[in-house]
Symmetry: C2
Subunit: 333 residues, 2 copies
DNA sequence: CTGAAAGCGCTAACAG
DNA sequence: CTGTTAGCGCTTTCAG
C-alpha cells in the first residue's frame, strides 16, 4: 500500500479510502490511485486490515460438517457459500467424521483464525467451546444436529416428525412388523428419528415390541450386513425404515443381494442421488439441505448485524417422496 | 497475549515462545504460561502472527472447484482437507460454476486473504492471475482441467485415454453407431474426452461420420432432452458414451422413460453414486478424485517446501468398471 | 533463558 | 478533500 501511495503521489490513507470505497476522495485522485494499484498488481491484505478495523471482523466463516464429501453436507455447504459470497465472506470448511475431539480441534482452529461466525454440526455430548465463542461474541449456529444444552441458534430437519411420517406411511400400507435401521444412539438426529419411529408405532396401537430396532450402524457396509441378517430371519420384518442416507444405500445392496427389492417395503430418511432410477424407486423422507444452509447462514449474518433476540430453533420440514419402495404391501399371509 | 504475559508474570515474547514451541524456555516458566493461557481462554491470532513472520505464511490454502456439492469435487476436497489438516493448514473452498469471471474473482479473493497456495479448477481460456501468483511466489496446482498455457503443475485424469477406452469397449461389443454426449467444447476435459472418443473410432476404422456428437450439455436436464431426441430418431445410435457424471444421470432418465435401459448400451465417464444399484448397473470409466486431491496437495506442499523443479503434469489413470449397461450388444439387424 | 523495542500492513482518530 | 500519527497482536532482532 505504501508503494501504491508513493506511485500515485498520495498519502497512504487515501489509498485505503479508495480501496474501501470510503467517501471524500476526489475522482481524479481516486483514478490515479486505481492506476497505481493496477500497475503494481496490488491486492489489499484483508488480514492486516481486520487487525485494526473496528470489530476486528475478518469476513470469514467457519463451517463444520460431517464430511465435506457427504451429499447432505455439501449441499448445505453450497448454499452457505452462496450467502457468504454475496457479502464478501469466505468460508473455511472442515470435516467432523463424527468425532467429538475433532470437533473441538476444528473450533479451536477456527478461533485462532478469528472467524466472524460459526456454523457447526456437532458430534459431542457437550460443547465446551461455546463459552469461548460467547465470550468473544462469535455467533454460533448449529445445523443438522442440535446441542443438548440449548440456548443457541439451531437449524435442523424435523427429524422426529419426518421419521414418524415415514413409519406411518408403512403402517398405512398394512405393515406391522417394521424394522428401524439407524446410526449410533449417541447421535442426536438418530435419537430423534428413533423417537419418531416409536411415536408412529404407538399412535397406530402397535406394541413397541413388534418394532425391531437395529442401531449403531455407522456406514453403508455395516448397514448392509445388519440388513442381510434381518432378512435371513425366520419371520423377518415386512418393512424397513432406514434412518440415514448411507444406511439406505447399504440396505438397498442387501435387498438386491437377497432378491427382495420388490417384496420388502423400504422408506429411507434423507434423499439419495439416483433414488428415482433404481427399480423400484426408493421412497424417502427428503431433507432440504439447501434450505437448512440458507437459514443457518441467514441466522449467522443476522447475529453479526446485531440481532440479539432469543436463540431460535428452526425446524425445517421434511417431505415424503413416494417412488415405489415404500408402497409395497406386506405379503399375503 | 499481553494479558497472558501479565498474568504469568513474564514478558510477552516468552508467551510467544511457549505458544510456538520455541526452545529456551524453562519448563517452570512454560507451565506458568500455559496456566495463564487456560485461565484466560486465550487463542493466538494466527493472522496477526503471519503479518510479521518470515515468509508471511498464513497456513491457508485456496481451493476452487466446479462446485463444492459436485461429488467429484467434494471427494477431491476431502482428500485435500486431510492433507492440509495434517499440516495445520486450513482450506478456503469456492465454487466456480464454470464461469471464467467467477474464477478470476475467486482467485483475487484468495490473494486478498494471503493464502499460501492455490489448487484450482479452471473454466477460462487464459489465466491472467498466474502473473500475480508467480510474482508473489504462491504455488498453483491445477486439478481436473489443465490450463492451455502449460508451465504450471497440473493433476488431471487421463481423459483422452479413458474416453478412448470407454468407446473401444462399446466397439468391441459390436457397436458401430455410437453417440457421444458431452459438455461445452470450451471445457478442456470435454475436448479431451471427445478426442479420445474419436481416437477409438478411427482406431477401429469406423468413419467419424458414423459417430454422433451432441455437445453443449451442461446439466442433467439438457442431457436428458438431448438423449430423448436421439432415441426418437429413425435409426438411433445403438450405443452411448456420456462424458460427464451429470450427463450420465440425464441419459439414464431418458433411457428409463423410453424403456430402453436394457437395449441401448451406455458407458459413462466418471462414476456416479448408486451406479451399481440401477438395473442394469451403469458401466463407467471411473476417475479417482481422492487420488487427484492427494497428488495435488502433495504438489502444493512440495512447492511450499522449496521444490522448484520443472512444473509437472500428472496424469491419473481412469478405470473401466463393467456393470452391465456397457456390455449390452447391438440389436440383431 | 528472558525481555524491550521495532515494525509487519493496515485503519481509526484526528488535524489540516 | 487529504495526510499524519498511533496502534491492532504478533514475531523479529538484539541486548541482557
Amino acid at each position: 500500500m505504501k508503494h501504491v501511495a508513493a506511485l500515485a503521489g498520495v498519502g497512504i490513507k487515501t489509498v485505503s479510502r479508495v480501496i474501501n470505497d470510503e467517501p471524500n476522495v476526489a475522482p481524479q485522485t481516486a483514478s490515479r490511485v486505481w492506476d497505481a494499484i493496477q500497475a503494481l498488481d496490488y491486492h489489499v491484505d484483508m488480514q492486516a486490515g481486520s487487525l485494526r478495523r473496528a470489530g476486528g471482523r475478518t469476513q470469514t466463516l467457519g463451517l463444520l460438517v460431517s464430511s465435506v464429501d457427504n451429499p447432505f453436507a455439501s449441499a448445505m455447504h453450497r448454499s452457505i457459500e452462496d450467502a457468504a459470497l454475496a457479502r464478501g465472506v469466505a468460508v473455511f470448511a472442515s470435516s467432523l467424521d463424527d468425532d467429538a475431539e475433532r470437533e473441538d480441534l476444528a473450533v479451536k482452529a477456527f478461533l485462532r483464525r478469528r472467524v466472524d461466525g460459526l456454523i457447526l454440526t456437532t458430534a459431542s455430548r457437550a460443547q465446551p467451546y461455546l463459552a469461548s465463542t460467547a465470550a468473544r461474541d462469535i455467533p454460533v449456529v448449529f445445523v443438522d444436529r442440535e446441542p443438548a444444552s440449548g440456548g443457541v441458534d439451531a437449524v435442523v430437519s424435523d427429524n422426529r416428525a419426518g421419521a414418524a411420517e415415514a413409519t406411518a406411511h408403512l403402517i398405512r400400507r398394512g405393515h406391522r412388523r417394521i424394522a428401524l435401521l439407524t446410526d449410533r444412539a449417541s447421535i442426536q438426529t438418530a435419537a430423534e428419528r428413533r423417537r419418531g419411529f416409536l411415536d408412529a408405532l404407538s399412535a397406530a396401537g402397535i406394541p413397541a415390541s413388534d418394532g425391531e430396532v437395529v442401531s449403531e450402524l455407522h456406514d453403508s457396509q455395516t448397514a448392509q450386513e445388519a440388513m442381510t441378517a434381518l432378512l435371513a430371519r425366520d419371520e423377518p420384518p415386512t418393512a424397513f425404515f432406514s434412518a440415514q442416507n448411507l444406511i439406505t444405500v447399504g440396505v438397498l445392496h442387501a435387498l438386491r443381494a437377497a432378491g427382495r427389492t420388490r417384496t420388502a417395503a423400504l422408506v429411507g430418511f434423507d434423499d439419495i442421488p439416483l433414488a428415482d432410477l433404481v427399480e423400484p424407486g426408493v421412497t424417502v423422507v427428503a431433507q432440504d439441505p439447501h434450505e437448512i444452509g440458507r437459514l443457518a447462514s441467514a441466522r449467522v449474518f443476522a447475529r453479526l448485524e446485531g440481532d440479539d433476540s432469543e436463540p431460535q430453533r428452526i425446524l425445517v420440514p421434511t417431505r415424503l417422496i413416494e417412488r415405489g419402495s415404500g408402497e409395497i404391501p406386506p405379503p399375503r399371509p
